[in-house]
């Protein structure tokens, strides 16, 4: 069933997945994530501004800010404004989403790094990664690198299509009955949160070594890293909680439903181990999670998720509830029905593909999540030029999980290079 909603020019309804983000935000957090590209030369800010200007008109659904309406939040186009600035704060810092003139994304530069920080309200990682690829390619073009945009990139001389700005949740909605959200709560990772602080710990790992290890367990790389992540939590939390340890794995719905939308279109599944029922060795965790990601990413399961989410969002009671009340309801739902269901997230953005001449100018790519302060840790993966960047982001100075994770990899014979965004931590 296709739900179509016409909106006036420049006004976008929030997509179904984005509904929760404005409601769940607080004074210090509003789900801003970061994608960064580290070049081999220092960034030229003027050329970067020009590149952003060139990309701007191509992505109308992202050049918006949020407005509070009577019944819902909605997105309103904003005119071009300079969103490029030098990085001077901690990564993915809080964004003033109600700023009248700025869109819900910004571009930062610091020495060799170009960072795009995007609020989840407007786009998910799968959409943002396309923007970053085009932005970097355009920037490199402006610096004099001769390169052609590949077919899978956003062509800047073309106009945005209606498919790119559509809410594909509603497009792919099939009404289903008897769908429930009942799920057991997860154990939580307890770490001392440092106020107004976010730290990234990046680990660079050769993909070939990871692949060999994953293959030895007959797993994909994502499954292998998920098993390591669960094992790290299991080692850290052992005996502290009787609840299952659940890690959330986001799944892009674009390839499954043939979507090209530049807005949110992803789902997730929580994959669990049950420490109260048995003692786990790493091999046991491998067996426990085998095939689970494939199961989560099955079309019929994803279709159920879409139906659940769209069904809830189009419920007449929800639609006609004043926004001020709805926000509180959604906030409570997010707190007790969303965040408690998992200990952390591991998100694999896949391969960051660039045209060959651009690859020579880029050293690495970093992607990092912005977990809730209470969540303490999140993990994002991205592959570029034979290396995978494993980025942990957290609001704590503690590094128990990162250490367990990376030392496990190095003990398995996988070389790891670790860097950290907090200059005080590593001197």
């Amino acid at each position: 069933m296709k739900i179509e909603t016409k909106t006036p020019d420049g006004v976008y309804m929030l997509d179904v997945a984005a509904t929760i983000y404005p409601a769940s935000r607080n004074a210090n957090w509003n789900n801003v994530y970061r994608m960064a590209v580290v070049l081999k030369k220092d960034v030229n800010p003027d050329l970067l501004r020009q590149a952003v200007r060139d990309v701007w008109d191509r992505i109308p659904s992202m050049c918006v800010n949020i407005r509070q309406g009577l019944f819902w939040y909605y997105l309103q186009s904003v005119d071009y404004s300079d969103i490029v600035s030098e990085e001077s704060e901690y990564p993915a810092r809080h964004m003033d989403v109600f700023n009248d003139k700025k869109p819900l994304w910004r571009v930062l530069y610091y020495k060799r790094r170009i960072s795009v920080e995007c609020c989840h309200i407007i786009a998910d990682g799968g959409a943002c990664v396309n923007v970053v690829r085009s932005l970097v390619a355009r920037y490199l073009q402006l610096t004099g690198v001769e390169l052609e945009f590949t077919d899978d990139m956003l062509k800047l001389d073309e106009k945005s299509t209606p498919q790119e700005v559509s809410d594909d949740f509603k497009k792919n909605y099939v009404p289903m009955k008897g769908l429930k959200r009942q799920e057991e709560n997860s154990a939580q990772y307890i770490a001392k949160v440092t106020p107004n602080y976010l730290k990234y710990t990046h680990g660079l790992v050769p993909i070939s070594a990871l692949k060999t290890q994953a293959k030895s367990y007959s797993l994909s790389i994502t499954e292998y890293l998920l098993a390591v992540y669960l094992y790290a939590f299991y080692t850290d939390c052992a005996g502290k909680s009787k609840k299952p340890i659940k890690v959330s794995v986001p799944v892009s719905l674009r390839p499954v439903f043939g979507s090209v939308t530049m807005r949110n279109f992803s789902s997730f599944g929580n994959i669990a181990i049950y420490p109260s029922k048995k003692t786990y060795a790493f091999e046991d965790i491998v067996e426990e999670i085998r095939g689970k990601i494939v199961e989560v990413a099955k079309r019929e399961n994803l279709q159920k998720d879409i139906s659940k989410n769209v069904g809830d969002a189009t419920n007449p009671i929800v639609r006609f509830m004043p926004n001020a009340v709805k926000r509180q309801v959604l906030k409570l739902g997010f707190k007790y029905k969303g965040q408690n269901k998992m200990i952390s997230t591991i998100s694999n953005l896949g391969i960051f593909a660039l045209p060959e001449p651009a690859i020579q100018c880029v050293e690495r790519v970093e992607i990092a999540l912005s977990e809730l302060p209470q969540k303490s840790i999140g993990c994002a993966l991205v592959s570029f030029n034979g290396f995978m960047n494993i980025s942990f982001s957290g609001h704590t100075k503690e590094t128990r999980i990162e250490r367990l994770f990376f030392t496990f990899l190095s003990s398995a014979g996988i070389p790891v290079r670790v860097e950290c965004s907090d200059t005080e931590v590593c001197g």
Binding site: V11, A36, V38, Y90, F406, P415, C426
Partner: protein
Amino acid sequence: MRCEKCNVDLAENVTRCPLCGAQASQCSPEISGFTVSEYPKVQYKKYPFRWGGAALIIFVVASAFAFIYDLKVNKSYNTALTCQCIMLILWGVLLRPALIRHRSFASYVTIAGVSVLPLLVHHLSKPELLNVAVPYILAAVSAIIGIAMITRRQKNRAVVGATHVLAFLVLSVALTIYNLFSFGALSVPCVVALCIPIAVFVVLTVRAPRELVNELRARFLA
């Protein structure tokens, strides 16, 4: 650089391992071809004190006091309960969202004052005065918000203002119904309270902040 303890490569400029804090040793790295991706030095600031929480505590304490006082002295809890319900709605639905952007000590004190005012009116006078004072307060606040929104240049504030005026309108209607059931007749203040938000809302709609019209069209006329 390397950390022998964690068995991982480290960036060239570090002295300690970011994972375990151990001293970095100058060994040749296993992974080559990367140079450190630097971050700026940041002064981390603490979260600002939440004045909203303090104002809420004042409200809760005042409500509890009113409730107990009403129960002990008047042997009834109806008026205090009504009063608390109104204040709760005022706080949760109307005033707190208004503070999303403008957090200042003065605004929190004002809101705490507005919340506590009906209680004071109630307990310092006859219960009937509540029915006079509260509608006037509601009407005055909605008129002030309405005028502020009309004269404000930022359009989206007008939408927020319209939301609040509409919510005040709902409150006024609720109070009118309460009045009708309690005293069997409408009081003049209630009618005034009912009229002012309607007038303000009509003026706001006539001035038609574009976003408000757009949103209504998007939600209900599509």
